[in-house]
Symmetry: C2
Subunit: 347 residues, 2 copies
DNA sequence: TTGTAGGCGTTATCAT
DNA sequence: ATGATAACGCCTACAA
């Protein structure tokens, strides 16, 4: 509506209302110090004049920014890029949760291996707290930051000696579920595809190992291959692996992307999925549905994850004690892994 | 390294350096007013003390935030969500371009149909400019914002009567290329899948129509189906369409997501791709490679798009005149559309 | 070439 | 219940 970008200030408002700036400030903050009546009146005038407090000035004085920085470390090509649909879906949910609470989101990609982006972000005073997406290889640095009392939470795997707050999926159970499912489907030589330097992946592999052990199946070392998250790398490695004559009948992949890359490589080697090799992914991305055959996967509850990350961070900022969370994952069975006349079948 | 989050202020620094605050301010800004020597000395002291200017205070005084707001309108379920890999890849490139120039990125999802988020963002004074991702249905509102002199650029289709700056792909040529390619492959009954209310899609369809006209092929009205961008909706519509007994031998889809949804529906109807129906997508997402068969698509140069959006916006903020840009798209031929013994074949 | 002083728009403290 | 006044940390005329 306003054609010119008229910038009303608090002083203006005070004049119009015939009160002091202090009163306006308090009224807009709904302070009980101000009489109900005056409060209402001032708020109405403010609304009518299209006034908004200048958040910059407010921040300077109050030292509160109502802004959260989201850090995406992109080290070592472990995840392919910000375009990774997985990160991005999580980011979307975080954005929703923050918006709901009246917080802004400052997005920062962190390329370098610099260990102290968290403290950097915080001392810049542009954000009240930080969400780190993926602890990646920075466990130690994060522990230090936590020791320094910085306000941040991390999306990732819960580790034993961690001093920071995490929200993440139950990767161990996920790996176990995936593997057990393949065993149920008759697979006996199951490979794990994933880069176990990443804590999440290491936990998934641990679940994989446990399932194999439980069924007394060997996990020949050569069946565990470090595959980077990047789609192309995964494809290349899977291909050369198959070319080397590896005999397998099942693959547990550390991500949907890796799984789909592997399926592409399998197809080129004339191996049928799931008849010759059954495949399970991890993440539950929408795109897994469009793989062919549609990909069995472990769905992570990213909506809830985003919510929890925000809640915990704000609680922590508010000085409350906060514990880490591990969210259950859900096995979504699709055609890529079903080799038996299925008794029942999930969508 | 610093264990406690010691917050040095400019006054402190001035004391340590034995100069006035003003001198420090100028020295850090590399002002030629200050003698080279003093400048260097102060900058070194600043670096050693781990000082950073408080951007909040700086903004308040200078009215410059060095921050750009990125707005993602999510109206009418036209794109499925922020998790849309397409938006997100673009966002990543924008983030890179901004970071490179020392700008921060404030991310905001806009849910409602509120027409004036641009002016909202700007009058809040938290950002120097705004990038709107997808003009969606808000052409008119954007024109108004431009008339009001707001600093923003839009990712989207270039429209005739637009008064704002856009960066976008040459959607018309894209639609034309896609369709011509299918015609070359022997297709004669080609459907267009896409929601033409979205300007980008309308342009793609226009290219589709032109290619058909050029080859004197009918585009029976019933072959143009409005399909929402959302993956599920596209799948449902494609399915019911096929169930209705539609006879087609080619599909030009307005996005890779729609194309993949369509392929899933085709598979369920025992129609082979590309033998029975050839398919071309649009976007050039990595995931198109993993479709089966791999999806022919039109790649948009999102890296360049992100760069240009940022450059143009900063130029515009700097008061320079800026024109809109239309970027070429590239046909990536993959198996989903190759029906002839290919003379040559792109990867 | 450097210093002094005032103000950016708020909020917090201390009065009244 | 409200008002004066002083910061918050920085930048920029203006003065020296």
């Amino acid at each position: 509506m306003p054609k010119t970008i008229a910038v009303i200030t608090m002083a203006d408002l005070a004049k119009r209302a015939g009160v002091s700036e202090a009163t306006v400030s308090r009224a807009l903050a709904d302070s009980p110090l101000i009489a109900q009546k005056t409060r209402k009146r001032i708020q109405e005038i403010a609304a009518r004049s299209g006034y908004r407090v200048n958040p910059v000035a407010s921040s300077l004085r109050s030292r509160i920014t109502r802004t959260i920085a989201v850090l995406i470390p992109l080290q070592h090509e472990i995840r392919q890029s910000v375009s990774d649909p997985f990160f991005m879906e999580l980011l979307g949910h975080i954005a929703d949760a923050l918006t709901e609470r009246g917080y802004s989101l400052l997005l920062a990609k962190i390329d370098g291996g610099s260990p102290d982006w968290v403290s950097e972000s915080l001392r810049a005073r542009r954000a009240d707290g930080v969400i780190v997406i993926g602890q990646s290889l920075h466990h130690a640095a994060l522990n230090e930051a936590a020791a320094a009392g910085l306000k941040f939470v991390v999306w990732g795997q819960k580790l034993d000696d961690q001093r920071y707050i995490t929200v993440g999926s139950d990767n161990l159970s996920g790996g176990y579920l995936a593997t057990s499912h393949l065993i149920d489907q008759g697979c006996r030589k199951i490979a794990f595809f994933g880069d176990t330097r990443v804590p999440e992946v290491a936990a998934r592999r641990e679940g994989y190992v446990r399932a194999l052990e439980q069924h007394r199946l060997d996990q020949a070392p050569r069946l565990e291959i470090a595959v980077h998250f990047g789609a192309d790398a995964a494809y290349q490695e899977a291909k050369s692996l198959l070319a080397s004559g590896l005999q397998i009948d099942g693959i547990v992949a550390a991500s949907d992307g890796i799984a789909m890359s592997a399926m592409r490589a399998l197809a080129e080697h004339k191996l049928r999925v799931p008849q010759d090799v059954a495949v399970v992914g991890f993440d539950g991305l929408p795109m897994a549905m469009f793989a062919s055959p549609p990909l069995t996967t472990l769905r992570q509850d990213l909506a809830k994850s985003g919510q929890l990350l925000v809640e915990k961070l704000l609680d922590s900022i508010a000085g409350r004690d906060v514990a880490s969370s591990m969210l259950p994952v859900e096995l979504i069975v699709r055609a890529s892994s079903v080799r038996l006349p299925a008794p029942r079948k999930a969508k």
